[in-house]
Symmetry: C2
Subunit: 170 residues, 2 copies
């Protein structure tokens, strides 16, 4: 695994981009970039006594309105107790609405209220502005590569969840 020559070759293909050093730099790039990625929404949320957990819930409820709690649980990858605490405050503050299912009345379907949509807009405007600047600076080919690598980095279930959100509503 670790330690071979300086240039790794396999089947005549140049794999210089797979050196330990390149991978380390990739790891650090992910770390620093994720910090930037969350910095802008974090600033907005801090003023509202909300955290990233609230942002994530709002984002995915907006993305898939009417989603059930269990579905959201799967996407977010936390326990229902954690999600419930966040959801409770969002509902109490009038940002999220929880409607009992019509087909299956055990289910709760989640929707953003007008206030919720307003906050979602503010948060994602900030985040999109940064991403837009980064995308514009890097160019279309780089963006395609960026998305390819991220996709490949996900766990299979997450890849499915991501694809579902992507294709579900064009």
């Amino acid at each position: 695994m670790s330690g071979s020559g300086t240039t790794q070759r396999l089947g005549g293909e140049n794999l210089l981009f797979l050196t330990e050093e390149q991978l380390r730099q990739g790891i650090e790039a992910m770390f620093f970039a994720y910090r930037g990625f969350t910095a802008d929404p974090d600033r907005i949320l801090a003023d509202l006594a909300y955290g990233r957990a609230h942002h994530r819930a709002i984002h995915f409820i907006n993305r898939a309105p009417g989603t059930t709690v269990t579905n959201l649980l799967d996407i977010l990858g936390v326990t229902k107790q954690s999600l419930n605490r966040v959801l409770r405050t969002l509902i109490a503050d009038g940002l999220v609405e929880s409607r009992i299912g019509t087909l299956d009345k055990r289910e709760r379907h989640l929707y953003l209220t007008d206030d919720g949509r307003e906050l979602e807009g503010r948060l994602s405007d900030a985040q999109r502005a940064r991403l837009r600047a980064a995308f514009r600076e890097a160019g279309p080919e780089a963006v395609a590569g960026f998305r390819q690598v991220l996709e490949a980095m996900m766990d299979p279930e997450m890849r499915r969840a991501h694809a579902k959100l992507r294709d579900g509503r064009t």
Copy 2:
């Protein structure tokens, strides 16, 4: 590449990759990919009663041996109280060594011990394996784009910190 009916055009450049929908997908890709990115080390750390904070400290001490506490503080972007809590346990557990500076005796220089290097290796092996698979799957051009976009996404200071680590030790 260029020209179709529904494309957005600005100054003759095709900006289809900058639509709201594309940006939203980029945001979600970052979210899901970061989860995958941290999943493997997280599993190892859970068994050791350590967390991501310990991982980050170990990573950057390994990356820049002899770094001072203040320097590490800048890279990690946390308070000294937070870092100190982590550092204290790592030193107590014999993974990190803190040496008083020779030039300036106020400074503490941080090094990994043999045990520390062993753990660092285990953690980064896991993380690199995932990244290597993703890089290999996506190919060199995609990886170049990936890194370009991440770089553009960072805050300027982080970009500098990242560049410093990158160029400091080739």
